[in-house]
């Protein structure tokens, strides 16, 4: 999109999207989680039948991660897990963290970093629930968290936020712009935590191809180069859905895996390799939490 194009949609209020979002949210909040969850299997079934490319992507992924050849039931379960996590976003955004049973691991070390007033780079993936991570973060008043996101997603998210909880204050840094990283650097320098989903590339980002679940896949070097360049603590974060009301939140400190090479790219590559290893570990541990419904290995 051209800069002028970006400007024009940014200045538009996006009433349509916000209105539909609000309607869905009102229904979800009124009916309650229990009722809404009855629809998840049906919606998952619909996607299993109707969404051809997502189904193929799901099956190809599951074939890599499951110990047996995946059937349609596995694909359905994959979509149902995704649906359940998406639905829970509504309740998490509505500050209903208490209704969930959340086990949090490794939080102390992250909070320590925060207390030292140093910024921290939090790297996640399109894996499990991002919202549970944010909800966990909101428990700590005064913790400043910024999120790097693509403009289009950022717009959708802010529409959803306004619809659900206008009081939520979220700082979003638009990715895919010339000054995206300078903005991130500034936030880090101010001592904020910056979260990025590091499994998908930014536009015209350099990729590092490496083995992932048995075949070569391209991971964006960007977030890892930034980590090495800025010399800030790096923490991997995973919000895993365990079924029912159960979530598991994991923070894994990763700075020590930066390596000691001279160049940012080499140091970043070392960290990226560690990230891919951890992601692979969690994929094997909780296979249905993988939410990249496209050919990740292309």
């Amino acid at each position: 999109m051209s800069d002028a194009g970006l400007q024009s949609w940014r200045s538009q209020p996006e009433r349509g999207v916000a209105w539909v979002m609000r309607a869905c949210v009102v229904v979800a909040l009124t009916a309650g989680r229990g009722v809404m969850r009855l629809f998840v299997p049906l919606i998952a079934l619909y996607f299993t039948v109707a969404a051809g490319s997502a189904r193929r992507a799901s099956r190809a992924y599951l074939a890599r991660v499951l110990p047996r050849p995946p059937g349609l039931f596995d694909v359905w379960r994959h979509f149902a897990t995704f649906g359940a996590v998406i639905l829970d976003r509504v309740y998490l955004l509505n500050d209903e963290l208490k209704r969930f049973d959340v086990a949090i691991h490794g939080e102390e070390s992250v909070l320590d970093v925060g207390r030292r007033g140093k910024g921290c780079l939090l790297l996640g993936a399109h894996f499990g629930s991002f919202e549970i991570l944010r909800a966990a973060g909101r428990r700590h008043a005064g913790l400043r968290v910024s999120l790097g996101m693509f403009e289009e997603n950022a717009r959708k998210i802010s529409a959803a936020l306004t619809a659900i909880n206008p009081g939520l204050n979220m700082d979003v840094i638009a990715l895919g712009r010339a000054d995206s990283m300078t903005r991130i650097e500034q936030r880090l320098r101010e001592g904020a935590f910056v979260g990025l989903l590091a499994d998908r590339g930014l536009t015209n980002d350099r990729l590092r191809r490496r083995a992932f679940l048995g075949a070569e896949a391209g991971f964006p070097l960007g977030p890892f180069r930034v980590a090495s360049m800025l010399d800030v603590p790096v923490v991997f974060m995973f919000g895993i859905y365990r079924g029912g009301r159960r979530y598991e939140v994991l923070f894994e400190t990763a700075t020590e895996h930066l390596g000691a090479d001279a160049s940012h790219s080499a140091r970043g590559a070392r960290l990226l390799d560690h990230y891919a290893e951890r992601l692979e570990f969690h994929c094997r541990d909780a296979p249905f939490n993988w939410f990249n419904f496209y050919d990740f290995w292309r």
Binding site: D3, L175, G176, R177, A178, D179, S180, M181, T182, R183, I184, E185, Q186, L202, T203, N204, D205, R206, G222, R225, V226, M229, S263, H264
Partner: protein, 88 residues
């Protein structure tokens, strides 16, 4: 290709060195786009440039500058901005 001023040439050298680019600094068109097509840099390259420029020229390129897209557009616009900052 448009002729380069001294600042532009210095800046081109700094960029090539910082990013280990395999191009001759003299061959960079000062009006080419730096980000995306053109020199093909990504936003992390831009950050590296911003940090290197701040260090070598003793100026601060602010992340929240509304005009960043314009400032980082080309070698020419960046050089102009650096000169304005240094004069200030």
């Amino acid at each position: 290709m448009a002729a380069k001023t001294e600042t532009e040439l210095n800046l081109a050298q700094l960029i090539v060195e910082t990013l280990n680019l395999e191009v001759d600094p003299a061959s960079i068109d000062p009006e080419d786009r730096l980000y995306g097509e053109g020199l093909g840099l990504d936003s992390i390259d831009m950050l590296e440039i911003a940090l290197a420029v701040s260090k070598s020229y003793g100026v601060e390129l602010r992340a929240d500058d509304e005009n960043n897209t314009k400032i980082f557009h080309s070698l020419r616009s960046l050089a102009r901005h650096v000169q304005i900052l240094r004069a200030a």
